[in-house]
């Protein structure tokens, strides 16, 4: 039983990371019906920046985090302008390829800057596990869960209680009507990509002490987060968080009781099956195509 709780709990920490990334997909999908296919590479960028600032320059993590967020937010704006907007405006689907291309660029540039070798990043608040009864958890994992919760509550508050947040939701609902109401739809769309990038940055910052800092670190994270977003429903951010946590726990259990190699095979297969059963996602509402 303790083993079960143990691996489920550390799984939840990983799940919180997935949730953070997956919500990023959801934000841009809701405003533009498009998304950054290479969001995992942005997670990597967040992780590598954290490595540089924290390990190489010895800057305190609490200062590193806002720097990473601002940097990715800004880069997200730039990437949206050049790799998403021109194609969306032309009504074309090829942003799938263009965002991937930006991701590939980032991987190779990261390899040039930081090299290919995985480098460890020490946990921000010590290595000694904290005991909750007989179940132990690493301080970094606690930090991840806490940070993810704060981010989600903040996002939720932003969306439901603040004026710009309401504008976001209005654009998600109907871009045309929103622009008639005087909302700058274009700005909201660009911002949603920037916020998604910043969320990926937070995820990279949080996860890098658990994994290792390397240019390939984000690829699989990004894929899994997308799988989760699809299982939950791309238009249901709250559902995505729940699915992310559950998926993380599930993954922990599969690796704990079966073996790690099969973990991702099971996960992606579930996604394909889930999509067949409920194309709109578990938490998504079915939408009929307008004729």
């Amino acid at each position: 039983m303790y083993f079960f709780l143990q691996i489920a709990l550390s799984g939840i920490a990983t799940g919180a990371i997935y949730g953070l990334i997956a919500v990023g997909y959801s934000l841009t999908f809701m405003t533009t019906k498009a998304l950054n296919f290479a969001l995992g590479m942005w997670v990597m960028l967040g992780g590598m920046l954290t490595y540089s600032l924290n390990v190489q320059y010895g800057i305190h993590p609490l200062i590193v985090l806002p720097v990473v967020m601002v940097a990715l937010f800004a880069l997200g704006l730039v990437a949206e302008r050049f790799s998403v907007y021109p194609f969306l405006r032309a009504g074309s689907d090829v942003w799938v390829m263009s965002t991937l291309a930006v991701g590939f660029l980032m991987i190779d540039l990261a390899e040039i800057i930081w090299g290919r070798n995985p480098t460890p990043v020490p946990p921000f608040f010590g290595k000694d596990p904290v005991y909750l009864g007989q179940v132990s958890i690493l301080p970094q994992q606690l930090l991840i869960i806490a940070a993810a919760c704060v981010t989600f509550v903040g996002l939720d508050f932003f969306y439901r209680r603040t004026l710009p947040g309401k504008a976001f939701r209005a654009v998600s609902h109907s871009g045309d009507v929103s622009s008639l109401m005087g909302i700058n739809t274009r700005r909201i769309e660009a911002l949603s990509y920037a916020v998604a990038a910043a969320l990926a940055g937070i995820a990279g910052f949080l996860v890098v002490p658990l994994t290792l800092a390397e240019p390939q670190m984000g690829t699989v994270l990004g894929l899994k987060a997308f799988a989760i977003a699809i299982i939950a429903g791309l238009a249901a951010p709250r559902g995505i968080l729940i699915c992310g946590l559950l998926y993380g726990a599930f993954e922990g259990l599969v690796s704990g009781y079966l073996y790690t190699g099969i973990r991702d095979i099971v996960g992606f297969t579930i996604m394909i099956v889930a999509l067949y059963a409920r194309p709109e996602g578990i938490f998504g509402r079915r939408q009929e195509e307008r004729a």
Partner: protein, 594 residues
Amino acid sequence: MRDTRALILLIVTALAAIPIITGGTYYAFLGIIVFIYSIVAIGLNILSGYAGQFSLGHAAFMAMGAYTTALLTKALATISFFAQTGLHILLGVICGTIVAALSGIILAVPALRVRGPYLAMVTIAFGWVVWKILQEWVSVTGGDLGISSIPKPQIGVLRLETRSFYYVVLALFLAALALQVRLVRSQFGTRLRAVKYSEIAVASVGIDVYRLKVIVFVISAAFAGFGGTLFAHQQNYISPDNFQFFSSVFFLLAVLFGGAGTILGPVIGAGVLMLLPEMLHDFDKYRLIVYACLILLTLYFLPNGVMGLVTRRAKAQGATDTQASGDDQTAVVLPAVSGAELQIENVSRAFGGLIALSDVSVRVAAGSIHALIGPNGAGKTTLINIVSGTYRADSGRINVDGADAKITSMHMAARQGIVRTFQTLKLFGNMTVIEHVVVGKARHSRVGLWDALVNSRRGKEEDRRQLCEAKALLRLLGISHLERTPATALAYGHRRLVEIARALAVEPRILLLDEPAAGLVAEEIRALAVVIRKLKSMGMTILLVEHHMDLVLAVSDRITVLDHGAVIAEGEPADIRRNERVIAAYLGPSHAAA
């Protein structure tokens, strides 16, 4: 035509001469790889270029083919019968292709329920699962080390060295190219291209779009698997590294770069992208950067790929060639129309809390024109959507000639003889007017995929017959002079008529016209009225949703008025005009009282 043949002959001769001229095996080896990759890219082009369904998992199908043949031929090679006859290679190639096609079905059935980015992502996930299984299932696949000493290609007792294998692969590549040409130029191919532009419109003419997409996905997977088997025998060694996510991206890039939805695009793409790294030394280090830049540059500056540049120039030269041949004036009689009676019984439908239709009943007599009017938001379009199978009703029945039509989807409605047009036009991009009508004829076409693949005589005759009928339809609507014009180049009024022509091609018994006059100028509306009356005189039953009261009053036999999802009046045009409730609904109660 003769020029094209001469050019093809010249290119084939040049390709055949490469191993002889260059001596050595290096260029022959490169050529084999380019041909193999081209075969895979051609398969992907049929799916992504023509049918518009992005796949980023084609390397997985290639892997299926490669691993199947590798395992099978290695096992069979120990039996002397196979080793002597070379049958194991043939068997391996066939089985590898079949296994790839079957795994295509397994992926396509769930994945094609979704579109666009979802589909792309599911194919990525599938590719990733396959790649991971190849790594983890060590006892069968050899894990990361892969499979080595795969039997070399051999035909009968003849073992093929690189140079002789080159000719075999060249022939196979040309066959794949020819197959693609047949496929996309057939009726099947026309439907396929239409799917890229509007799935809903393809469904509206009675085609099961989902089934069509699954079929084309499987064909595409088979091409990739076939390429994979050749790859395995050429390399003699395969490992998961050969089939990474990046390989899938490579193939899609090849298609986009060369020109998606063009016959030679995938070949040019695969050729250039394969040979480019060979030309640039030290390229491997920055492989991703170079490809990434290439993707972005292609998307920015060559939206239609390299072939886009070529065809644009060709079009500018041959623009005068519009009046096509084969316009034989033999009077083609349009099939007789037998309009059916349509009964809408107690239909209700709510969207969340909004009741769009409550208990609506309308009876449309066979061979009559029945108009459905009402203020905005009255539920007219919802009703059309339900009758045509676009939406499902919460309750109620739709009867055709007294029998429950049991409409569950758009293509099922069309098969019952209920066909619609769309208020917001849903045409097939730059496909020509006549192609729209040909897609509409799918239900009555007796030829399918098989005839396209074997280029049967029956197929050719059927094509000719359909073309004649399609032309007759265009003549009926007075747009036969536009037959070869792409829909994107048409005037708005003509686009409306193309929608109607496409619907008529299905030979409907009940035609649903959803605001056909929207956006038309007065003169076009008068022409439309003539067309509608002509259809009635042929015996068609027409349900017309329209805001232009002139048109409604001019053509309708009966009018039903909807307001807030309920029927408020029904009768002949003269009665409806004077009906107080109708006037109140349109202009507000105060006017009705006055």
